[in-house]
Amino acid sequence: MIIGKSYTRVDAYDKATGRTKYTEDLCDKHALVAKIKHSNVAHAIVKSVDISEAEKIPGVVKVLTCFDAPEYLFPTAGHPWSTEESHQDICDRNVLTKHVRYYGDDVAAVVAEDEVAAKRAIEAIKVEYEVLPFVLDVQEAMKDGAPQIHEKYKNNVLAHTQIHKGNYEEAIKEPGLIKIDKWYNTQTVQHCHIENFICYAWEEGGRIHVTSSTQIPHVTRRCVAQALGVDWGRVRVVKPYIGGGFGNKQDALYEPLCAWLTTQVGGRLVKLDCQREETFANNRVRHAIRYHFISWVKPDGTLVARKVECFSNQGAYASHGHAICAKGLGSFPQLYPCENFEGDGWTVFTNRQVGGAMRGYGMPQATFAIEAHTEDICTELGLDPIAYRRKTVMPVGYVDAFSKNELYSDTFNQCLDAGMKYIDFERKREAYKNQTGDIRRGIGVSLLWYNTAVWPIALETSSCRMVMNQDGSIQLQVGETEIGQGADTAFSQMAAETLGIPFEKVHIVSCQDTDVTPFGTGAYASRQTYAAGMGIRGCAEAFKAHILDVAYRYTRMQSYLMDIVDGNIIRKTDGRVLMTLGELALTVLYDREHNEHLTMEKTAQLKTNAYSFGCCFAEVEVDIPMCQVKLLNIINVHDAGTLINPALAEAQVHGGMSMGIGYGLSEKMLYDAKTGKLLNGNLLDYKLSTMMDHPHLEAQFVENPEPTSAYGTKGLGEPPVNPVASAIRNAILNATGVAFDELPMRPHLLYEKFSQAGFFQD
């Protein structure tokens, strides 16, 4: 078995030596440098741009403004294209804009011979604005009379969806129900991949070539073509190794602008490299979503009716838009089924940075809200939080009517059992009762719900190509991308397993190139192993069958009597090795009668999706006078089905937990209310966790093979981040009795809430 073994990452050696080539390492050092003029107002119409001084600066090649930019509007979200217009992503961007919609919007660009000249020219550009009122708050933006950000969207509502089940209004009339009505607020955070966004573009052979640090080469190619108004085939996108993405790079960021710039300087090579400050201020962010929960429960906690409103702050442009808010909304009646449910989700434009995809895709926000609310119900009714969750959560056998996803096994109980055992939940919960004093400890839990892939909301597809070499090894290509998570290694294991060759005989082509890579929609959702698994297995089985047909010519054995095991063609009836795969490949490639290049290519279209579940337990120590939370212990338990590579799976969980800890305790983008400007857009002021901010991160698994999956696997990339902030929040509640309904729970907020709780009165 190759599946289930912790092989070393296929890219580990090169990365350990520093020789792995990322985008900047590949760019010719003589490339022209592009820089962007960002607006210093949050909402305005550009009246004029004076470039006369900028053009005089030595080394400047070209200065371009929003008045030069092509009129084509384009979308940026890394979603599959839809042939139905109503399902297409919203086209609301130009490469440079005359209508500034957030502080930092792109109004002009410079191409220069070096960075210094480019930067000086940017400073020398003078922009005249007709300044408009702006709005930063999501609910303010919905009010009549709020500044209108996009013409077509009344009250700035990009989308509004509803889920109605049963009869909420009737149900709440039942006598004796207890009403629990609360608001929960999540903040804006950024991905903070350590490699900033970077791309470079040039023209060659009448085509536009873009090399980019992207998760989605094929989608980016289409977005670039839309932005430039050219045929899709005229654009080629190459994706090298990337230094992290986490969803930010699941968006066409500045590839369309860079591609346009090269066309404006005669096709010369142009590099556009975001600085860290631009990654913060001008890339994508996680949506801040505000939730309003009203639950009607019986005294024993039975959920009779629930109403939820979600207000998602989209920022200035649609990007991934409503999909993120909708995912969370859709999860609520699934995680805790409720007969009478009314849910409303609004995604609303504001004059803030653009919300896009980020690891968890709306679920860290939604999980914080639902798991804080669930805990609040338990607290209010005096119920045991574990027993209550076990009783109320989606039962085994539950099938979602829309996705057809099914909970096949007793995952939630198994995950809870493992987490409780590790963290010694029962004993500590008991020990932490009735604490007084300045330093208090607490322990908390959160469940997590996730959908692995995007079917049936969007197309799910994976294509795969295998090409055999003379030695019986193969090149493996898939459309799903390695973005640091270890996908290439898992894919290699899958191919080796099904084809029957040693792991070392699989050479995965990691660098994606839309000219040669089979079509794929890239790295997003938590679909890489699930979706690519189907493509790889389908391709490998077809390839194997074909190889055995070819082998018949040389072995005289019927193909059904043969198999490929460990790189050998064997006769199944007696296990005899008939020839090695290398011998077959060499013979057939140079056969003067029946020469053939052994290759296979297949597309798998997925019409299933899979639930991925788990939980997090956190234990904290709260220093009340210092308003500080120290995380003492934390464990995530996941059911991601069969683990392809346990060591890499564990590493994925660590990374997600770390992101969740930052989300819960320290990370927040701060905006100046007077100007809309981002105030802490750098790695010093934005409090990303360091190694000192973490305790040991424990990752455990429950492996219930997913029945719909080619290798039993399902989503794991995003889920680990989702339950962490809520588990910490519930632990702080347990320690102090104070319920935090806002993130992050940093000292500023603790001071405010502890003051309100009367902790500082003497």
């Binding site: 912790s6 070393t8 990452r9 890219d11 580990a12 050696y13 990365k15 350990a16 030596t17 520093g18 020789r19 792995t20 080539k21 990322y22 900047e24 390492d25 050092k29 210094v116 991905h191 903070c192 991949h193 350590i194 490699e195 900033n196 190794y241 990337i242 230094g243 992290g244 986490f246 600085q275 860290r276 973005i483 640091g484 998570q485 270890g486 060591a647 890499l648 564990e650 590493a651 660590h654 990374g655 997600g656 937990m657 770390s658 992101m659 750098n682 790695l683 010093l684 990303l688 360091t690 190694m691 000192m692 973490h694 040991h696 991160l697």
Partner: protein, 163 residues
């Protein structure tokens, strides 16, 4: 413009090297652009992330906030200098591979160089000390868990070998 460039002579990974460099250039720029040392990564260029770390005369520095001209006469080690001439990995690199401490790999050179610089001193540190020593490096992929594991492994292995 005549004094915009200066000759910088230094030892890089054991070899004496010279290049004319822009007086405004950072050591990161020089190592990457003049010597092709791609392990020196740029994550912020203002000394916040540690991706650009190199060892200068035995001490670890963020090369992005170290002017190239200051390197004149100095002895510099980048991650490339840890790999043995035959391509085998040093103990610290091998531990990062074996402990799955590398994901996207962008922060990894900085961590390995930092670890090498303090592990050379041959001391045994507590977990808290190690966390502090490595806290100048940011990683978004690993949660630092396996990085700490790898560094500890090498620390103990070296200690065991030295007795």
């Amino acid at each position: 413009m005549s004094n915009q460039y200066k000759l910088v002579t230094c030892t890089i990974n054991g070899k004496e090297r010279s290049a004319m460099v822009d007086v405004r250039a950072s050591l990161t720029d020089m190592l990457r652009n003049d010597y092709g040392l791609t392990s020196v990564k740029k994550g912020c260029e203002v000394g916040e992330c540690g991706a650009c770390a190199v060892i200068i005369d035995g001490e670890c520095f963020n090369s992005c906030i170290y002017l190239a001209i200051w390197a004149d006469g100095k002895n510099i080690t980048t991650l490339e200098g840890l790999t043995h001439p035959d391509g085998t990995l040093s103990d610290i690199q091998q531990a990062f591979v074996d402990e799955s401490a590398i994901q996207c790999g962008f922060c990894s050179p900085g961590f390995m160089i930092e670890a090498e610089s303090f592990l050379q001193k041959g001391k045994i540190y507590t977990d808290d000390e190690l966390r502090k020593l490595l806290s100048g490096h940011l990683c978004r992929c690993t949660g630092y868990e396996n990085i700490l594991r790898a560094v500890k492994k090498v620390m103990h292995k070296r200690a065991a070998e030295s007795v």
